[in-house]
Amino acid sequence: MVDHFLLLVVQAALIAVFFAFLWKRDGRERLRYLLKVFAALVLGAVALAWLMYPFPRP
């Protein structure tokens, strides 16, 4: 069985690492940015899922 949340976390981690290395040069700044992007993606997805919860599925 595929754990959708785990896949979401993996996807968010890959994207966060990518953008941290793309935009930031300093190690500490990079780590901070990575955590920020990762948290934004995971928490944003969960928040969006909650907001969509009341909408009926076709």
Binding site: V2, L14, L22
Partner: protein
């Protein structure tokens, strides 16, 4: 006094290729553009992230989407798919990436494959910016 070209100041590698060649290299092999510019750590990280994303996408039964008549969005998806460069070519040659629509992970697989391609295309633009001196 001779002036140093912008490219020479931003290129750490021993051999500087022309800009179009670097951009093609960056597109074909994830991370190669940065490697050729001497950004070895970034090259390794970018390469790992994109290859892992692409392989996960295939493992999750994602589809390497190509243009389909009557489906305008498939053209956009095809751009992202082709962005994977040699990974896309290899997977196609090996008969992978057909996609299993009925698999529970199909959409996730697609998301991984498409983001890997888009990230690689961003790397091509990044290589361009480094070469012209807009970015370090």
């Amino acid at each position: 006094m001779a002036t140093v070209p912008e490219n020479a100041r931003t290129t750490k590698g021993p051999a500087a290729l022309p800009r179009p060649a670097l951009m093609v290299a960056a597109w074909l092999v994830p991370g190669l553009g940065h490697f050729l510019l001497g950004r070895k750590l970034r090259a390794a990280v970018f390469s790992a992230v994109i290859v892992v994303g692409f392989v996960l996408g295939l493992a999750l039964h994602g589809e390497l989407i190509l243009p389909r008549a009557g489906e305008p969005l498939s053209y956009l998806a095809a751009v992202a798919t082709l962005g994977n460069g040699v990974l896309f070519l290899l997977a196609t040659l090996l008969g992978l990436g057909e996609g299993v629509v009925t698999a529970a992970s199909y959409e996730y697989g697609n998301a991984f494959l498409l983001t890997a391609g888009m990230m690689n295309l961003l790397l091509v633009l990044d290589v361009h910016d480094i070469v012209v001196g807009r970015k370090e």
